[in-house]
């Protein structure tokens, strides 16, 4: 296979367009995360790739072959469902070798493959157990082993961690990523958890309201968001509304400097995003806009400290990693905050935002 391509894919449910003109390339052996809030169309897109939903338009190509109309059972795409969808009437081993048994693989080969896959997902010795006897994490491993049994060309996972508790989820994210790297299967994961996407993915596709908002590596998505939605959805950000003025941005009485002049006409309404870890407090000699500020709240959450400020352009949160500074801040303290030029992202402000 030479990767999976989606061209102009869209899906309508009645008068509602769930997925809008999606064009994506999934490189061979790469793990891509479809990331977005609930109802953004990411699961619908995954189901169209799996063949469980027919697109209303566009095409899906695998290795140059158009598979848009190909039935799900002829695609050989392994899929892990949100609730794992294991068969309760079968044992763990019977679940894992299901695809092999129905395809006519000999019993001995199926059993050997089943044992190898159970070993791969660290469930050796669990083959004879019933599904009801397994924990959530074990069920997820069985679902992964079952989806891998047919040696799929593409491995699809629909919110695979959502049924697990927080601790197990973190462990399984790393485990799943290591397994995928070892097997080198083209993998697409649907998630609404940006931390999960950042942990596992080579490439993240951020979706909103059926549209693809941005495609890029986790670092690109985080540090160079292409619009306000991505900046807001991925990580945390301080937002300010401003107006373009001579290549700078006016917010209230302050004029904020940018690394490169804003590519907007003078007077254009814009939205500025600033990650909380980028501003400097009470620091001189940094290229950027220095503003007066007053500390309103300090939140110490172990590895980081959030310092809430009231500034002349509005409220803001600055985040310091533990050990980054030994200065202490107290509520009511006057200080200055510098917004570095490379830390400001400017987006057009449209529609209701501009009103």
């Amino acid at each position: 296979m030479n990767g999976l391509q989606l061209s102009g894919i869209y899906k309508d449910f009645g008068s509602v367009r769930a997925v809008e003109n999606v064009n994506l390339d999934f490189a061979e052996g790469e793990l891509t995360a479809l990331l977005g809030p609930s109802g953004c169309g990411k699961t619908t897109l995954l189901r169209m790739i799996a063949g469980l939903e027919m697109p209303s338009g566009g095409s899906i190509n695998l290795g140059g072959n158009n598979i848009t109309g190909l039935a799900a059972h002829k695609r050989r795409f392994g899929m892990v469902f949100q609730n794992f969808a294991l068969f309760p009437h079968l044992t763990v081993r019977e679940n894992v070798v299901y695809s092999l048994v129905i395809s006519g693989t000999s019993k001995s080969d199926a059993i050997a493959t089943g044992e190898r896959l159970l070993d791969l997902v660290q469930l050796s010795g669990y083959g004879d157990r019933r599904i009801g006897e397994l924990s959530g994490g074990q069920r997820q491993r069985v679902a992964i082993a079952r989806a891998l049994a047919q040696e799929p060309e593409v491995f699809l996972l629909d919110e695979p961690m959502s049924a697990l508790d927080a601790k197990l989820r973190e462990d399984m994210q790393v485990e799943l990523r290591l397994l995928q790297q070892r097997l080198g299967i083209t993998t697409i994961v649907v998630t609404h958890d940006q931390r999960e996407a950042m942990t596992m993915a080579d490439k993240i596709v951020v979706m909103s309201q059926g549209r693809v908002e941005q495609v890029g590596s986790p670092q690109e998505i985080y540090h160079q968001p292409e619009n306000a939605f991505v900046a807001d959805f991925i990580g945390k950000a301080n937002f300010f509304d401003g107006v373009v003025e001579g290549g700078k941005i006016r917010v209230g009485d302050a004029l904020l400097e940018l690394k490169t002049p804003a590519g907007f006409l003078g007077g254009s309404p814009v939205k500025i995003a600033c990650r909380p870890e980028t501003p400097y407090l009470d620091t001189e000699g940094v290229a950027g806009s220095r503003l007066k500020a007053k500390v309103t709240f300090v939140r110490d959450v172990g590895p980081v400290r959030d310092i809430h400020l009231e500034t002349e352009i509005g409220p803001m949160v600055v985040e310091y990693a533990r050990g980054e500074t030994d200065r202490s801040f107290s509520i009511g303290q006057d200080t200055t905050v510098t917004l570095p030029v490379e830390g400001l992202h400017v987006f057009p402000r449209t529609g209701q935002e501009a009103a």
């Binding site: 059972h73 469902f81 969808a85 068969f87 395809s103 989806a147 047919q150």
Partner: protein, 324 residues
């Protein structure tokens, strides 16, 4: 303070104690009435089944197994063995098994497809099916009687459209005759096992849909989708995922309808030939019909009841074995 407060707290305590006393009495009363209403008819039938008929008159209380003997080996045993009533029991089981299985087999795909429709469409179908339950057995049998009648029903339609002649031309008419579904000239459905079973299956078909609807609507559709992504075509999905997942409700539905069909009377009297009548018909004839032999009718009713119980127990045993 305590002097004032004690009487006021004692009043509700006494009321609660009185209520607690009344509650067991009320419960016992309800249980007694329920047991009386449920058990009395059965106990009466069992008691009467040991009674004796007085020739030319009514019957009298007794303790004789003669009625049971008559059912199993005939009244003149050991001089003569007669399996007439065992044959009636056989036809009771035969019709009930085939009709209940037929109803469930045909209701299953319908209900499965129905659960895939929108909620609105499902509700409309359920209302329609539930409303069909308001039709009485007599009304339904009357409709089928007209539909299958040899002079004005389907046989005449077959004849008028040339289908009967075509069946004769291709040689299938003789096969129908062998099956008892044709006379020398025309196709006929009355009287036949086919018409009896068909009408009985039709009678309980709405019940089959209603019994199968809850388990099928609760079936996790992601399991069928998972099977599809693993290479299973529609029939394989049905065979390996859907049917095993609902096998217990399927067995339960067949059993329930089977027990219900053991007692069907009107359909059998109209569509079954006299030699293939069931024990339910025989019970009615003994109790209310020509023979007026209530003890013998009661003995047959008890045997029918025990047969139903036996099959229910067998079903329960199979269910437990499958579950384990």
């Amino acid at each position: 303070m305590s002097v004032v407060s004690e009487p006021s707290s004692a009043v509700p305590q006494m009321a609660a104690a009185a209520a607690a006393k009344r509650l067991p009495l009320a419960r016992i009363g309800i249980w007694a009435v329920t047991l009386f209403l449920c058990l009395t008819p059965f106990l009466l039938v069992i008691a009467i089944s040991f009674g004796q008929k007085i020739e030319g008159a009514s019957w009298e209380w007794a303790f004789s197994f003669a009625n049971y003997q008559r059912v199993f080996v005939g009244a003149n045993w050991p001089e003569e063995f007669t399996a007439l009533y065992l044959q009636k029991l056989y036809y009771s089981l035969y019709y009930a098994v085939i009709a209940s299985v037929l109803a469930v087999i045909t209701a299953f795909p319908f209900t499965y497809l129905m659960t895939g429709l929108s909620k609105r469409a499902q509700s409309a179908w359920l209302v329609f099916i539930l409303s069909s339950l308001s039709l009485s057995e007599v009304f339904i049998v009357m409709g089928w009687d007209v539909l299958l009648s040899n002079r004005s029903g389907l046989p005449m339609v077959f004849k008028a459209t040339g289908l009967t002649q075509w069946l004769k031309d291709v040689g299938w008419f003789e096969t129908l005759r062998d099956w008892g579904l044709a006379n020398p000239r025309d196709v006929k459905f009355k009287t036949s096992v086919f018409a009896t079973v068909l009408t009985m299956a039709y009678l309980v078909w709405p019940y089959a849909v209603i019994l199968l609807y809850p388990p099928l609507s609760r079936l996790d559709r992601s399991m069928t989708e998972a099977a599809r992504t693993m290479g299973a075509g529609p029939w394989t999905v049905m065979r390996t995922v859907v049917l095993p997942a609902v096998r217990l409700p399927l067995m339960g539905s067949v059993l329930l309808l089977f027990v219900f069909l053991l007692g069907v009377y009107v359909a059998v009297t109209v569509f079954a030939e006299p030699a293939k009548q069931t024990m339910a018909v025989s019970v009615y004839e003994a109790v209310r019909g020509n023979t007026l032999n209530a003890p013998f009718g009661s003995a047959q009713a008890v045997i029918l009841l025990l047969t139903a119980g036996l099959f229910l127990a067998l079903g329960q045993w199979l269910t437990r074995r499958n579950a384990s």
